[in-house]
Amino acid sequence: MFDLERWQEIFDTIRKNKLRTFLTGLSVASGIFILVILLGFGQGMQNGIANEFEEDAATSVWVWPGVTTKEYKGLNPGRRIQLRNENYEFSANLLGDRIENKSPRYFVRNVQVNYGKESLAYGIQGVSSQFQFIENEYISKGRFLNYSDEREKAKVAVIGNKIKRDIFKDTSEPVGQFIDISGIPFKIIGVYGDVGGEREEERIFIPISTAQQVFNGADHINNMAYTLPPADDFETAVAQSIQFTNELRAYLLQAHTVAPDDTSAIQIWNPMEEAKRFYTLMSGIKFFFWFVGICTIIAGVVGVSNIMLIVVKERTREIGIRKALGAKPWSIVGMVLHESIFVTAIAGFAGLIFSMGLLELVGPHIEVDYIMNPSVDFNVAVTTVFVLIFAGAVAGFFPAWRAARVHVIKALKDE
């Protein structure tokens, strides 16, 4: 290994057999390259999915009532479930320490909305002051609803950017103006925007208490929304939110006397559960990538051993000559293996450096949904290179050994 003469002999051989060396190297380097890129994108997809769900207030939980489908405790199926303030308040008390933001929502229907002489067709929703954070709304003018609006049942409204553009144009100032809802004037206190786009900006928010009282809502609410405090990592977040969902569902089922296995009466949408499904899918994809990667490596090893086989075959005569001149069998094996290990190692690390460099350079600039910052565990990649070198050496050993044992006379007759 540290025999300088041997190294010189090998460099001579490599220098004079450039094509052979290049082909061996290419097969090894491309194997490693493909593996690293595949693993990188596997990781990138995982990062991307985690990111997608973390970013979008992924810890939110939405509750929608539905219709019962099962008979339970003498109650017929087909009963429509109506959420009430008490459900909201009780759930808030029950799970309060695990809730970050919470809001009930009441949809005000069949009302006429006017601004001056203009008739407007926008949805009106009664919500709590924390709804802003659940929906990730940002305030572009004025303020959002606050707790005292709610308590005092103030006749105030927050409108979306789109509404502002539609009816107030860009010039005049909407905050402080009044809109009529069913003939009752509501003062505009703020304008919000939503990263989700214009569709999300076509709503008018008023305090839930006002909505229920003014528009005959009694204590009815249409749905409830929560966000949970952020967890340290994705796994905990998923576990935490699933736990929360289960407890909330249990309470609501019991409060409304619904069969525990009735899935349509109370629907709870939890993006974390979706994320969990994506994660499972992801580990499938990752497994697949590994599988493809390992197949690539096997193909690389087979390629290397093929080349070694041909190289040894091609050099049979040369080996015969060397033996006639006094080369010992082990020095022949050593020469062939030394060359192959050297070429495989250089090519393997070249492929590794090139692919990791590519991931480093291009990775952070990839802006595709569900792929983020593809990268690869350096140790894993280096291990693969060593596995390839080792496999190449083993694959090269047998033809080399056979060649070294071949009778000189026979080897010299080889054309």
């Binding site: 057999n17 060397r322 006639a324 001149l325 006094g326 010992k328 069998p329």
Partner: protein, 233 residues
């Protein structure tokens, strides 16, 4: 230098055993130039292979420079070949991707001679065969005669006890053959022991002694008056 007693060698050919050498007794003194002659199948190549430790004998004894050659493993045989013997082949057997000088230096590599000394010695022997200017050329750029001279320089480079030449002029025209023989004679003049297998009468008569082989036995072993190749060059 070489002492062979009652040498037998047979090959298994399927179920039949082919008795190639049937009791050869033969010895070579230092400084001799011996031609081994015989038709094909007479066993002359087998004899040379055994002398060259490329093949093992079945029966009898072989002593080379006082060392008994028997039951050698591959490693030992390689060591002895390197130390005692230089080979010259009919088809030259140069390594085609190495230059003339590198080919000549190769046996020295296996003698663990340092790179610098190898190069110096290779040039020295190339000069001796008149090819110093061709040192950096590849075998493909040399003529047949030149290739054989490089091969002779390579055989000489290891400074062996005995040079073994297997039909060294077999692939050359007569003019080139005589040039090569001239070179071989001059090397012999310096005191080197050379054994040469040939089936050409005129080449054989350029040696000092002719051994005739027929059907695995020596039928004739005579000293001859050497014809100098120089006059034909």
């Amino acid at each position: 230098m070489i002492e062979i007693k009652n040498l037998h060698k047979s090959y298994q050919m399927g179920k039949n055993s082919l008795h190639v050498l049937k009791g050869i007794n033969f010895s070579v003194e230092e400084g001799e130039l011996v031609a081994i002659m015989g038709s094909s199948g007479s066993g002359k190549s087998t004899l040379l292979n055994i002398l060259g430790m490329l093949d093992e004998l079945d029966e009898g004894s072989y002593t080379l420079d006082g060392v008994p050659i028997k039951n050698l493993n591959e490693t030992k045989a390689a060591q002895y070949r390197n130390k005692f013997l230089g080979f010259i082949f009919q088809s030259f057997n140069l390594i085609n991707y190495k230059t003339a000088a590198e080919n000549v230096a190769l046996p020295l590599y296996y003698q663990r001679v340092g790179r610098k000394e190898r190069q110096e010695k290779a040039l020295k022997y190339l000069e001796q065969v008149g090819l110093k200017e061709w040192a950096t050329h590849l075998p493909s750029e040399l003529s047949g005669g030149q290739k054989q001279r490089v091969a002779i320089a390579r055989a000489m480079a290891a400074e062996p006890k005995v040079l073994l030449a297997d039909e060294p002029t077999g692939a050359l025209d007569s003019k080139t053959s005589y040039e090569v023989m001239d070179l071989i004679q001059k090397i012999n003049d310096e005191g080197n022991t050379i054994l040469l297998v040939t089936h050409e009468e005129d080449i054989a008569h350029m040696c000092k002694r002719i051994v005739h082989l027929k059907d695995g036995v020596i039928v004739e072993d005579k000293k001859v008056d050497q014809v100098r190749a120089e006059q034909y060059v």
